[in-house]
Symmetry: C2
Subunit: 197 residues, 2 copies
């Protein structure tokens, strides 16, 4: 199953280039297990589902810890029938990662590291094909018990809490809802240090 992310990091400061370049270095020790490509609008990470969110979280965390207002925006996808398969996505880690195993959603949350960095996020889960809405409703029910549920908004669900738990809740939604081999995408925004409070 082809899986990956297009993500962008937006530090709201004159020194945005320096913060982005430093934050992306959080990926360095994973470059042998992920395919990473950057252009002038986003960075692509292709790899097994269980590696995608921790990688993205660590980039965000490194930027957030500068204290500047930073936002990460991402398009996450698995199982798109229009994408070629890639051997890098199909390692043991991905297969053991439990896509489609809904009981694993809570386990992913329980394993989330405590980072000490607060974040707010909002995201939409899109299971393409049949049964989109039942999967979306089931996911929202799960999120309400996640400990980081903030509120339902039009078109998305808002989360708030520790960065580790917030990313784990989105990862669990992406991996554990929708058909195990189905085409599922997530439209994600994560924010730290907003002056809007």
């Amino acid at each position: 199953m082809f899986s990956g992310i297009q993500f962008s990091l937006y530090p709201m400061t004159d020194d945005f280039v320096g913060i982005i370049l430093d934050a992306v270095s959080a990926l360095d020790d994973r470059r042998d297990r992920l395919r990473i490509e950057t252009d002038n609008i986003s960075t692509l990470i292709v790899g097994p589902p269980d590696m995608l969110f921790p990688a993205m979280r660590d980039v965000f965390l490194r930027a957030a810890r500068t204290g500047h207002h930073v936002v990460l925006s991402a398009t996450v996808s698995r199982g798109c029938p229009g994408e070629p398969d890639d051997p890098i996505c199909t390692g043991t880690a991905g297969a053991a990662g439990g896509i489609g195993d809904r009981d694993q959603a809570k386990a992913l949350l329980a394993d989330a590291p405590a980072t000490g960095q607060p974040a707010v996020a909002q995201f939409s889960l899109y299971p393409l094909g049949a049964d989109a809405m039942p999967n979306i409703y089931a996911c929202i029910d799960f999120l309400k018990t996640s400990g980081v549920f903030d509120r339902s908004k039009h078109f998305c669900t808002k989360l708030a809490g520790d960065t580790g738990a917030v990313f784990a809740a989105v990862e669990a939604s992406f991996r554990c809802f929708g058909a195990p081999d189905g085409h599922v995408t997530v439209d994600l925004t994560v924010s730290a240090n907003s002056p809007s409070g």
Copy 2:
């Protein structure tokens, strides 16, 4: 049909608050025809489909003309069965706007204003329910003739050109592909003045 946008504007400068507040004033003369709500992560615009993209474009344009690197990120949705209907979405303008009328896609492009402000963008179109991929492929075929097609990327299509034409191409994709009354969403990123060139 309920339709709207959650969007955020990211000016990569220390004066990001001032630029955001000034840019959002581009909505002022439309506030009687749109429902607009802001929290600490995004601004909601609810209104007829044909008003959404021009409103968002004008906010982006005002920020881009400061010369700073600015990015707009948006989640756009129409026809979500989980949303309550709203009278503000169902005016004559929306009904006449031609959702589902694929011939209108080219007309929307032809009507795009020339702004003189270059932009790059990437977006994903998600027609929820049956026939997602045929609609996505048809949309990509249309985009290749739009004059602003840059290239296909994993999980999205990248556009480049005048800001007016770029927003018109995404609007045409959103309004004219997928079932006329179907649940269709777009995950959009638009960028101006990037130092990455």
